[in-house]
């Protein structure tokens, strides 16, 4: 892996410290096109911080994040989104006061400037795309409902839908099945496998069953560093991993 530009995302030497504490320490990893990468690790391992660093929510102290050859660490959050990186938060982050339709409409990638938003028209193309996404995230019958009244699982799907409508090349999901019923988990795994067709996904997850269902490759983080990386099978049998994480 010498030529970093072959990868969709290459993270090299990424470091961030909070008041002396290195939450992420000289981290390097690479994500291929159309790959589902799962990041696991015990609490406080720095998983969410890695996503924060990639999407620009936290500024790195050192290192680089290259996405299709573009350096993300120098860009502002909305520019990173425009470049094609979507991020779902740990707790479902949707707009409670708006309807499902309006939630998706705000995420529709047109009219993102102030004047663009003032002039934005809800035309046929917009409606069509919103219905298409709603179908995909199992919310076609809830478009006029206020998002506040959705179930927890439906909120998670809605947020995934809000990212999908922007058609990002890299989708980052922070614990997408947390708080979901078994039935909902199965549907979510299906959804992820369907949307992988033309994009890469980074998932943080604790649910091992779910990880096994979806992961191509697993990265195990521990104290801000990579402990192990590879297929689920390999990671599972790595004695270091067993010791700090799976063994508990």
């Amino acid at each position: 892996m010498t030529n970093a530009t072959d990868f969709l995302l290459s993270v090299e030497g990424l470091t961030v410290s909070f008041d002396g504490f290195k939450a992420v320490d000289d981290l390097s990893f690479y994500v291929d096109e159309n790959e589902i990468r799962v990041i696991i690790g015990p609490n406080g391992a720095g998983k969410t911080t890695v996503l924060d660093l990639i999407c620009g929510r936290t500024k790195a102290s050192g290192g680089s994040v290259k996405f299709r050859g573009k350096e993300l660490t120098a860009m502002r959050e909305h520019q990173i989104v425009h470049a094609g990186v979507g991020r779902k938060f740990q707790n479902p982050s949707i707009y409670d006061d708006l309807t499902v339709f309006e939630n998706l409409e705000i995420s529709y990638p047109r009219g993102r400037s102030v004047w663009g938003a003032l002039a934005f028209k809800r035309d046929a193309a917009v409606r069509e795309r919103i219905h298409e996404i709603a179908e995909m995230i199992f919310l076609a019958d809830h478009l006029e409902q206020r998002a506040e009244y959705l179930s927890h699982g439906q909120k998670q799907w809605l947020e995934i839908g809000m990212l999908l409508i922007q058609d990002p090349q890299l989708l980052m999901l922070d614990e997408p099945v947390a708080g979901m019923s078994v039935n909902e988990r199965v549907k979510t795994a299906e959804l992820l496998n369907r949307i992988i067709a033309d994009r890469s996904v980074i998932v943080i997850e604790h649910d091992m069953k779910f990880v096994e269902d979806i992961a191509h490759k697993v990265t195990v983080l521990h104290q801000g560093k990579i402990l192990s990386e590879g297929s689920m099978e390999r990671v599972k049998n790595d004695p270091k991993v067993v010791e700090v994480y799976l063994g508990h």
Partner: protein, 308 residues
């Protein structure tokens, strides 16, 4: 602006203005300490903080009259009694306000701001109805009058020295209570993680009430000290509230040392400039600089980098 002053004159001017600045500094610190506890530790904006201070000032005023009339032998020391009473009066009113108003608004900081503004209007009117609209002053005991001459041109008033000594003592006590005592650990635990603190057996409601009370009590003591250097009117508190908020924010809301350092900077800048410019322009320039710096560095001067 330095034209026409000799070097030694300039030295004296800076020294005297510097001292005047130190008194302003003391008032800022005393007011800001209480505010920093309430805002920095609890995240509550108390717009009535100035009125809690003025309550302390009026308590001192009443006390000086009562002692002067009924127990003149106590007069040299009345000030210490007044200070204790001011602390109790403002502190218990603060706890009452926390119980009846603030505790319903912890998650709505902007609404707290408006509600406490309403409270400040009511308190102002109560002061006005009780003590009249005119400003009142207290009689200082003899030992606080006069001034010390350091050199031929530099004189420092004794009451100013006293207020400064008081400020340092109170700051030290507050620091000890918040950062050295068990109770302070409880306060900081609640502020950092309310649910967890509750789970390990800290009575979070009680901590909130006492913290708010402490902040208001210190404001009362500040008011008591304030009577030594200025006169008190119903709206005197409002005059200082914005300056004090700037002091707290400028210092970085979580840091007591920052609060003191920023009070020092702002008061010194203002009083030094006051000599050369008109009072209003000195204030405009000082505030403008502070606001300008806050726009560039909104987190204040002293703050730790933490994960959001």
């Amino acid at each position: 602006m330095f034209d026409g002053y000799s070097l030694s004159e300039l030295g004296s001017i800076f020294a005297m203005q510097g001292f005047a600045g130190l008194i302003l500094f003391s008032v800022f610190v005393l007011m800001a300490l209480g505010l920093a506890i309430i805002f920095g530790q609890m995240g509550v904006i108390n717009m009535a903080h100035g009125e809690f201070m003025i309550l302390g000032a009026y308590v001192t005023f009443v006390c000086s009259h009562l002692v002067g009339e009924h127990a003149p032998w106590l007069f040299p020391g009345y000030f210490f009694i007044a200070m204790a009473l001011a602390f109790v009066a403002s502190g218990s009113l603060g706890m009452l306000v926390e119980w009846s108003l603030i505790r319903f608004l912890y998650r709505r900081p902007l609404d707290t701001l408006l509600a406490t503004w309403g409270l400040s209007l009511i308190m102002q009117q109560i002061f006005r109805s009780t003590f009249g609209a005119r400003e009142v002053g207290v009689t200082l005991p003899d030992w606080l009058m006069g001034s010390l001459s350091l050199t031929d041109t530099i004189e420092v008033p004794i009451n100013g020295l006293f207020v400064m000594a008081l400020t340092m003592t109170i700051s030290a006590v507050v620091y000890a209570v918040l950062f050295r005592a068990r109770w302070g650990r409880g306060v900081r635990a609640v502020m950092q993680n309310r649910v967890m603190a509750g789970a390990v057996g800290i009575n979070t409601e009680k901590v909130d009430r006492y913290t708010f009370g402490l902040g208001c009590g210190i404001a009362g003591v500040a008011g008591s000290a304030f009577t030594m250097v200025g006169s008190t009117g119903p709206t005197s508190g409002q005059l200082y509230i914005v300056d004090t908020f700037l002091v707290v924010v400028f210092g970085g809301a979580q840091s007591l040392i920052g609060t003191i350092a920023s009070a020092f900077t702002i008061s010194q800048a203002q009083s030094t400039m006051e000599f050369f410019l008109s009072g209003s322009m000195a204030k405009v320039l000082t505030l403008l600089t502070v606001v300008g710096i806050l726009m560039l560095r909104p987190q204040g001067l002293f703050v730790l980098k933490v994960r959001r």
